[in-house]
């Protein structure tokens, strides 16, 4: 990426581009469909795969640790270790193993996401009122029924808060993943950083911020819809 033209050659420069203004709305609009939109979709895809995979793993791990509490300390130790390793370093350390590939990116993202998801889900399960579980057992619900109908349902607020942090964080890290694979909004930023032409990296950066805020909002909304009982608490 060293020998880039001063202004990326995406066609005839408009007046704004020729002036080299801080942000050229017309250029941004002109390149929305061929540049920004595909990168946004890629960004979202990379994020979704990682968050969904991490969520499934974390739920399984948290449920296991909830029932076998001696497992919680080692699992928490390993995931917090992974969480402490800077994601950029994690990417680079995986490159010799899985190469410059989407697999590398997703593996690192999933490993990185586990800690927050695992701890929030486990906390959620542990905060389920003991009497509700005891009543459920006493009424003859099976362990599976107690898990799916009582414990996981009551842990939804925790699941959502874990998903919010993780999703927003993953969107941020996917931007850095562009150092490993040429995908997502991060790659637009990196390609344009060396040039003095600002519109591309400012636009992509702003889109990444917008995506994170939108994802957070969607999850907040999903949380509200999934926990109708929580809304009534204050009214009671």
């Amino acid at each position: 990426m060293s020998a880039q033209p001063v202004i990326p050659d995406y066609g005839d420069p408009s007046a704004c581009v020729a002036r080299d203004a801080t942000f050229c709305t017309d250029w941004f609009g002109d390149h929305w469909w061929n540049l920004f939109w595909p990168a946004l979709v890629q960004h979202l895809e990379l994020t979704l795969i990682a968050v969904v995979a991490g969520f499934v793993l974390a739920v399984v791990a948290a449920v296991l640790c909830h029932h076998k509490s001696w497992l919680a300390a080692p699992v928490s130790g390993v995931t917090s270790f992974l969480y402490t390793v800077p994601p950029l370093a994690l990417f680079q350390l995986l490159v010799p193993v899985t190469g410059f590939s989407v697999l590398t990116v997703e593996t690192a993202l999933v490993l990185y996401s586990l800690y927050l998801l695992f701890t929030t889900i486990l906390t959620g399960l542990r905060e389920v009122p003991e009497d509700a579980v005891r009543a459920a057992r006493g009424m003859g619900l099976t362990r599976w029924q107690i898990l799916t109908k009582v414990e996981l349902r009551l842990a939804v607020p925790s699941l959502i808060s874990g998903l919010r942090v993780t999703t927003v964080m993953t969107i941020g890290i996917v931007a850095i993943a562009a150092y490993v694979v040429d995908q997502g909004l991060g790659s637009l930023i990196l390609k344009a950083l060396q040039s003095p032409f600002n519109t591309q990296f400012i636009g992509a950066g702003a889109l990444a911020v917008a995506l994170a805020l939108a994802a957070d909002g969607v999850l907040v909304l999903a949380g509200r819809l999934l926990t109708p009982w929580a809304r009534t608490r204050r009214a009671a």
Binding site: P86, Q92, V95, P96, I171, A208, V209, L213
Partner: protein, 217 residues
Amino acid sequence: MDTFLGSFTFMGDQLPLLLEKTGQHIWMCVIVVAVSLAVAVPLGLWLGHLHKGEFLTTSISNIGRALPNLAVIAIGLGIFGLNFTNIAVALLITAIPPILSQTYLAVDQVDPDLVRSARGMGLTPAQVLLKVELPLALPLLFSGVRIAVVYVISSATLATVAGGGGLGDIVLGQATYGLEGVIAAALWVAVLALAADGALALLQRVLVPKGLRTAGR
């Protein structure tokens, strides 16, 4: 595997370079964390003591999390240009929210009965804050600081994008240092983050009152 072995050779050969970059890295992080502590801890303590500003602190923390570092640096390049201000702003946006929100929460959640009994014993508001609320808030406050420090060490790797130096110069400098160099520096950053987290965990043990240790895990 060869790459990993090669990275250790790199560490041996290029030790002065690595140490220099590590020094820059740590220096950058220390400045940012110090400024964040100076801003966020008093503000969090004060707001928590008054039990006001929950909306403010949670919003700041949510927005801070939602801003991808690279995006902030990219946008900052447009605004501040290629200099340390840009990096400092990006790193402060990373560090302040967790410290502020955890400090606030830590003080806000102190058992109101304890505060009431402290006031009932005739302690002044400042004494209540320093002798009761702050010690009780330490475990949670520390968890916020640990999160912030790890984030900053991690994010400082991106400083190179804006010409800020640090280990990121090597981690993101494959063209210059080769994959071995990249791996070596990545390992160093990881070790640095883990070591800083471990050191803070130790400090937390020393500073947190004995009676709270089981609660402050």
